[in-house]
Structures are given as C-alpha cells and as structure tokens.
Amino acid sequence: MINYSNFFKTAAIGLVSGICNGLFGSGGGTILVPAMVFLLKVEQHKAHATAIAVILPLTIISSIIYITSGIYDITLTYKITIGSILGGLLGAILLNKLSSNFLRKIFGIFMIIAAIRMWF
C-alpha cells in the first residue's frame, strides 16, 4: 500500500537534494540526512546509510553530464580518488571512536571562511 502524500513529500526531498548535488557537485547527502531525520523520522544511522544509496545513482548521473560536457580532469580526479578512499576508510573507523560534534563546528567555521573568500 503506497501512501501518495508521503511519496510526494519524500520525492520532493530527493528532488531538492538532487538539484543541489548536481548544481554544486556536493552537498546532496548533507541535505538528505537531516531531511530524513526530521521530516521522515528515520533514525540517524539509517539516514546516513540510506543517503549513500540515494546519492550514489544521482552522482553517477551528474558525473556523466559533467563528463559529456567536457568538464573533467583525469589526473586530478585520480589523485583525489586514491586519497579519499584511504581517508574514507579511516573516517569510518574514527566515526565509532570519537565524537564528531566538535569537528563539525570546526569545519563549519572553515566553510564560512572559505565561503567569504570565494565570494570576493
């Protein structure tokens, strides 16, 4: 039994995440996780896992559109990918060992400084 109003609410969350993820090349997961937790009442750790299952196909679509438009750099992407796979494994281990709330605030401050520098 499908509840249509829930379906459209959920699809709208997906739509906004997809637009941001495609337009800014990032951030889809950062929108999806709190949206699922607050609007769809999904538990935090399941929201993180589900976000990856959603963002992966969206990122593949966006990547194809960027690549077919000639927007890519193979050498740079290769180096970042190798680094991020190793970092991602370490991050997943650290997640269970330390609180990420303090880190979030530090990165939030970095992001705001970077945002101001990028604007000017």
Binding site: I13, G14, L15, S17, G18, N21, G22, F24, G25, S26, G27, G28, T30, L32, V37, E43, Q44, H48, A49, T50, I52, A53, V54, L56, L58, T59, I60, I61, S62, S63, Y66, I67, I71, Y72, D73, L76, T77, K79, I80, T81, G83, S84, L86, G87, G88, L90, G91, A92, L94, L95, S100, L103, F107, G108, M111, I112, A114, A115, I116, M118
Partner: protein
C-alpha cells in the same frame, strides 16, 4: 603528493559523515586555483568508488530504509538532471558565487548541528 593528502583529509571527513565534498571543493579552488566546474566534477567522480564500498557494507548490515528509497531516487534523478544541466551551462564565475552562498549556509548548518538520538 599534496593532492593525495587533500583527498585523504576530505575522505576522512566524508567517512565520518560530515560532508567531505563541501570541504574538498573550496580547498581545491582556494589552495590550487582549480576551476569551479572542474573542482565540482572531481568531487562527484571521486565519490563513486568509495560510495559503492560503503553501500555494500550498509546493505549487508541492513541499515538502508528500502521503503523510502524509490521516492527519494525518483525525485533525486529529476533533480540531478536539472542541477547538472544548469551547472554546465553557467559561467564559472557565477557558479562560484552561487557555490559560496551554498557553502555559507552549509557552514552555519554544521555549526548549529545537534546529534539526535532516538
């Protein structure tokens, strides 16, 4: 070598679920003078292999909410086409301005974020 390190650091942040890309993109642009479009493309593509591995692990641990997946992906695919097609048409300078607004809002969100335990 520095680029591997930047990837490594953003990977740690991403692996912790804090959004590695919103850190990686400004780092590439501000420290290495990479073009806005290219930085976004790098972040998108580099996410894919790690996400496949993480997804298999989450699937085996039954952490994925299958019942809401279809609606999220249907909406998300439409959004991805819209967002990406707009992004590739915009000039780098305009995209950079829009990104900086997005980054500012995301930064505020991270600062005021509170973990909800249920």
């Amino acid at each position: 070598m520095v680029l591997y390190l930047i990837g490594f650091l953003s990977g740690i942040i991403g692996g912790m679920g804090i959004g590695g890309g919103t850190i990686l993109i400004p780092a590439l642009i501000l420290a290495f003078n990479i073009d806005q479009h290219i930085a976004q493309s790098v972040n998108l593509i580099s996410f894919i292999p790690m996400a496949i591995v993480a997804l298999i692990a989450h699937f085996l641990n039954k952490n994925i909410k299958i019942n809401i997946l279809l609606a999220l992906i249907v909406g998300g695919i439409i959004g991805s086409f819209l967002g990406s097609l707009i992004a590739v048409k915009l000039s780098s300078s305009l995209l950079k301005k829009l990104f900086s607004i997005f980054l500012f809002v995301m930064g505020l969100y991270e600062i005021f974020y509170k973990t909800h335990k249920k």
